[in-house]
Symmetry: C2
Subunit: 119 residues, 2 copies
């Protein structure tokens, strides 16, 4: 039961596209992730996913539109909805999602991080 400083945690995180766990409550994980470049199209069958931008901005590609999310903004991708995050510059994001949510959702490939570690 310690407070978490987002800047300090982000400072310890160097890998891109590799979510790390910084909190857990009610069966949900709080994660931090740094992204830059283009991810893959995927969806989550049973998990809604919240993206809160802490630093930077990125485009959330959906099949019918693109939503730009800047620092101080969040976006919820409901379960079943295909999405692909793309960041021109390095962007830092806080994620809220159920414990066990896989970063690549229904896809398993070289971008998959099977068991995110605590940061």
């Amino acid at each position: 039961m310690e407070k978490v400083n987002l800047s300090e945690k982000l400072h310890q995180l160097s890998d891109l596209w590799s979510p790390r766990i910084v909190g857990e409550l009610n069966g949900q994980h709080v994660k931090l992730v740094k992204i830059k470049g283009e991810f893959i199209w995927h969806h989550h069958d049973a998990e809604d996913e919240l993206f809160l931008v802490i630093h930077g901005r990125f485009d959330m590609h959906l099949r019918d539109r693109v939503v730009t999310i800047r620092d101080g903004e969040f976006f919820i991708v409901p379960r079943g909805v295909e999405h692909k995050p793309v960041a021109e510059n390095e962007t830092h994001i806080l994620l809220f999602e159920p414990v066990g949510t896989l970063n690549t959702g229904n896809v398993r490939n070289e971008r998959t991080r099977e068991s995110p570690e605590r940061l």
Copy 2:
């Protein structure tokens, strides 16, 4: 499925100690609340509660210590743990907690907000 800008939402929120819903996912609510002054001691029987400071700072009083939480920091109060938020100056907080979580937990009094509205 629209993005949420925290500053814009906070601008629309004038009441103190009155959490408002700004998002929902996986049976959890994302809420915003403005606080100033002292709240009441309470706990939540079945809900863990996350407090992320967006602006300002506040003291989370626990029975055995006080934790100061500043902007860019979050703190999780596990279910069953008595707590009392106190803010010397107006502070803006994002809450993440299960749908139905009552702001005063096990206590019902004039500080209770039975059904938080969407903002």
